[in-house]
């Protein structure tokens, strides 16, 4: 039981990171109809910026958090404005290729701007162990799970109650008619890129906090993408939950079956789920538009 809970908690913690990045994918897909293949790389950049802030400005957790969020917003806005907006109206295939190109560029930017060595992000907390019902858990793990749950609630409320949140759903439902109502798609898209960058970036910072920071971190995107497919590419909350499910499945399979199963288990679950629900557990829309 102890062992099970331990696996469950650490599965939830890594799953929460996948979930945050998966939500990043879903926010962009939902409002622009695109899969952003640079999501993992954007996440990595934000984590590196957080590390730079912690080593040069201040290691205070609030300074790092606020700095990283602002940097992520800026990153999302710049990419939307400079790279994505000129592609508006171009074929989806071409636009998705652009995100793949962007991914490669951002990946090598890490080596130019920073370096190729692993680093540890230290904000003076997150690595201490607390005891929860007899098992030891790192505070960073508790924090990331709590953050994911808080964001799930906040995003639910945002899409339901805020005018711009409803507008994002309207654009997702029918962008041309949204245009006829005077809803500016470019503003909605800019907001989506900024929000996606922040949500995923938070996941990246937590990863750097609990594990390490290295130029291989973009691979988190490859882990999170299946999570968003599982939860539903158009389902922001579903993607967050998809991340948790994959994290738990991986950890339990790795702990009880074999460590080799860890990689496979998540994908096995995805295949089975997609056979039953092709658009993901919480997905609604025909995703062939990708």
């Amino acid at each position: 039981m102890q062992y099970f809970l331990q696996l469950l908690i650490s599965g939830l913690a890594i799953g929460a990171i996948y979930g945050l990045i998966a939500m990043g994918f879903a926010v962009i897909y939902k409002s622009t109809g695109l899969v952003n293949f640079a999501q993992g790389e954007m996440t990595m950049i934000t984590a590196y910026i957080a590390w730079t802030i912690s080593t040069t400005v201040s290691g205070n957790v609030f300074v790092v958090a606020i700095g990283a969020i602002l940097a992520a917003i800026l990153l999302g806005l710049i990419i939307e404005r400079v790279v994505m907006r000129p592609m508006l109206g171009e074929p989806v295939f071409a636009t998705v290729m652009v995100t793949i190109g962007l991914a490669v560029i951002l990946r090598s930017a890490i080596n130019f701007i920073w370096d190729a060595y692993p680093h540890g992000l230290d904000v003076g907390m997150g690595r201490d162990i607390v005891r929860l019902g007899g098992i030891g858990v790192r505070t960073g793990q508790v924090a990331v799970i709590a953050t994911l749950l808080t964001l799930l609630a906040a995003i639910w409320a945002f899409f339901r109650y805020s005018k711009i949140g409803v507008a994002m759903r309207a654009v997702a439902a029918d962008d041309r008619t949204a245009l006829l109502m005077g809803i500016s798609a470019t503003r909605v898209h800019a907001l989506a890129w900024a929000a996606s960058s922040v949500i995923a970036g938070i996941g990246g910072v937590f990863f750097a906090l609990s594990y390490d920071l290295s130029p291989a971190m973009f691979q988190l995107g490859l882990k999170a993408f299946p999570a968003t497919i599982l939860g539903g590419l158009d389902a922001v909350l579903g993607s967050g939950i998809g991340g948790l499910l994959i994290g738990i499945t991986e950890n339990l399979a790795g702990g009880y079956v074999s460590s080799g199963m860890k990689e496979v288990a998540g994908f096995l679950m995805i295949i089975v789920v997609l056979m039953i629900r092709p658009f993901g557990i919480f997905g609604e829309r025909d995703i062939e538009r990708v």
Partner: protein
């Protein structure tokens, strides 16, 4: 395609020098899609303030294209205004972005209603009021609910589950939320039962008479439209082939033969009339 001998149009003469009281005016508009398909050629239409103008024509005549040009959304379909202009309150507006056009008071209820299916009725209306302040939108919403009590009853329901008639009311209500001066409706009677069409048309008349709204009514259903319109234009393959007061159009032999009293399945077109016959009639 019939021969392209220019057909004189007696009633077209006073038109380009349009009356200054036109709220909206299309001037010699030509629209091309994909650099190849000419959907509208040299169309001039004037919509005077406070009136209902009917724009009639069969499938593919270019009616919706004109409305897309009016709303500035042609670019979403690779369409461009090749020449001509659209004027609203005496100003050129065809270069403006869709949201700016809405802010100025031009809105359309698109063909097929296009409610936001996954949003509630209330959220659909909220989106209509997107360009307005929250306080103004709330006020408008109460007016829309007064006009369509049905929408109020079902305000929390998902729009996609409503009947066609209710969706049409919602689409009109949503457009009214923008606080328009000019309301264009693209085939509001499409696919609705006669009784429901009556209701929708009653509302359109009330909009003109009580709210002093200017209406551009696009229809294939010429009978209904000419019943309430003040003036009408008939569009065929991208050209205005006939225009006049609604009464005059309703009395016109060709219009009667091809647009009125013909079941929609058996609808023919003015195009099918022999060319000499058309010419003779328009000259008479």
């Amino acid at each position: 395609m019939p021969t392209t001998i220019p057909i004189p149009r007696p009633s077209a003469a006073p038109q380009p020098t349009a009356a200054p009281d036109s709220l909206l005016e299309f001037r010699n508009i030509r629209v091309v899609y994909d650099n190849a398909i000419e959907a509208v050629r040299d169309v001039s239409i004037a919509v005077p303030e406070g009136g209902i103008v009917a724009l009639l024509g069969s499938n593919g005549a270019g009616k919706s294209t004109l409305l897309k040009a009016m709303s500035g959304i042609l670019y979403t379909e690779e369409g461009v205004i090749e020449s001509g202009s659209i004027r609203f309150r005496g100003e050129d507006v065809h270069h403006l972005a869709p949201d700016e056009l809405v802010r100025r008071g031009i809105v359309q209820v698109p063909e097929g209603r296009r409610v936001f299916a996954s949003l509630t009725i209330e959220e659909n209306l909220q989106m209509g009021g997107y360009t307005r302040s929250n306080a103004a939108a709330r006020e408008r919403r109460d007016k829309v609910f007064a006009l369509f009590p049905r929408l109020h009853e079902r305000r929390d329901q998902i729009a996609g589950y409503m009947s066609g008639g209710e969706q049409q009311m919602l689409a009109i209500g949503r457009a009214l939320m923008t606080d328009p001066k000019l309301l264009a409706l693209d085939e509001p009677s499409l696919g609705l039962a006669p009784l429901i069409i009556d209701r929708i048309y009653e509302v359109i008349v009330r909009l003109r008479d009580e709210l002093k709204m200017t209406v551009l009514l696009v229809e294939q259903n010429a009978q209904r439209a000419l019943d309430i319109a003040d003036y009408g234009y008939i569009l065929e393959t991208g050209r205005v082939v006939l225009d006049g007061t609604a009464r005059k159009l309703a009395a016109n032999e060709d219009v009667q033969e091809f647009y009125l009293g013909v079941s929609s399945s058996g609808r023919k077109s003015l195009r099918d009339v022999k060319h000499y016959k058309r010419r003779k009639r328009w000259l008479s």
